[in-house]
C-alpha cells in the first residue's frame, strides 16, 4: 500500500513530559535561490565544514532536538523542550562535547547546535548546526552568520 504524505504536516513529537512540541515537516521542494545562498555562505565561511545542501525538512532546532525529522520554529517550544527534557544550563568554562549551544537574542532562540569539539587555547566551541533552510554546518561558535549574534547559552541533559 502506497503511503501518501501531504506537503506539510506535523509529527507527533513529545517532550519527556509527554507534551506535544509544535513542529512542521515541510516536504516542499527547495525554493529558487537557496542553493546559491548555500554557495554564498560557503564562500563567506571557508573554515566551516559545509556538510549538506539546503533542506526545508528541518531547521537547526529540528536537528538538535528532533533528529532532523522536522522543523521546530517557535522559540517557546524550544524553551519547553529545555525545561521538560531536564536540560540544565552550563557555564562556558564547563562546556564539553555533546552539550547544546543556543544563540539567544532577547528570549528568541534564533540558532542552536550540538558541541562537537572544544578548542583549548583560546577556549572555543565547535558546533554542528543548520543555518535556516540552508546547509548543515560544523562551525566555530564565532563563525556563524553574524545575524545570529554571539550571545550563546549552553545546555546539558544530565539524567
Amino acid at each position: 500500500m502506497a503511503l501518501v504524505l501531504g506537503m506539510k504536516s506535523e509529527l507527533k513529537l513529545d517532550s519527556r513530559c509527554e507534551n506535544q512540541i509544535t513542529n512542521v515537516t515541510n516536504r516542499c521542494a527547495r525554493i529558487p535561490g537557496e542553493e546559491l545562498a548555500v554557495d554564498d555562505l560557503a564562500r563567506k565561511h571557508p573554515h566551516a565544514i559545509h556538510r549538506t545542501r539546503s533542506s526545508r525538512k528541518y531547521n537547526c532546532h529540528g536537528l538538535v532536538f528532533a533528529s532532523r525529522r522536522t522543523e521546530i520554529w517557535d522559540s517557546a517550544e524550544v524553551a519547553k523542550i529545555i525545561l521538560e527534557d531536564d536540560y540544565v544550563k552550563v557555564p562556558f568554562e564547563e562546556v564539553h562535547v555533546g552539550d547544546v549551544a543556543v544563540y539567544v537574542d532577547n528570549g528568541d532562540m534564533q540558532h542552536s547546535g550540538i558541541v562537537v569539539e572544544m578548542a583549548k587555547n583560546p577556549k572555543m566551541a565547535r558546533i554542528l548546526g543548520k543555518w535556516g533552510h540552508l546547509q548543515e554546518v560544523v562551525h566555530w561558535a564565532n563563525d556563524a552568520p553574524p545575524e545570529y549574534g554571539m550571545n550563546i547559552e549552553y545546555y546539558r541533559v544530565t539524567s
Partner: protein, 137 residues
Amino acid sequence: MNSIDELDLSEAFKVYAISNTPIFLLKRLRADPATNEISRSFSGEKILAALNELAGVEEKHATDFVRPYVYLVALSKLPEIGYLRAAGDINGVGKWDWFKYIQQVLVESYSPVVRVEIKPPRFSKYTTQFETIGEKR
C-alpha cells in the same frame, strides 16, 4: 520608485534563508532598508493590494518568498494599524508559513509612528531680517 516590486530584496532573502524562527526574521526585516523604503514610498492601500496580488499567484523568484514578509513589516511602520490588521484577513496568506504569526506579533506590539516633516526656515529670509536690523542700527 514607481512600482512596489522594483525594490531589491536580495538582502532580505538572505536573511529569510537563514531564519530558524519567525521572530528572527521579523527583527531583521524591521532593520532592513527595503521595509523603510516601502513604508515611505507607498500607501497602505497600495501595499495591501500588492499583498493581495501575491497571495493569488505562485512564487517564481527567490525574493518572492520573502516579499510578503517585507510588505507586512512595512505595513507595521505606517501610522495607521488598520492595514496591518487587514493583512491577516487576506485569502491565501496561509501558504506563507510564518505570515499569520508575524502579523499577530506586529499587531500586538504595534505603536503608531507619526512622520512629521520639519522644514528649516529659508536662509534668505533670515539674511533679509538681519540686514533689516542692521539697517535700523
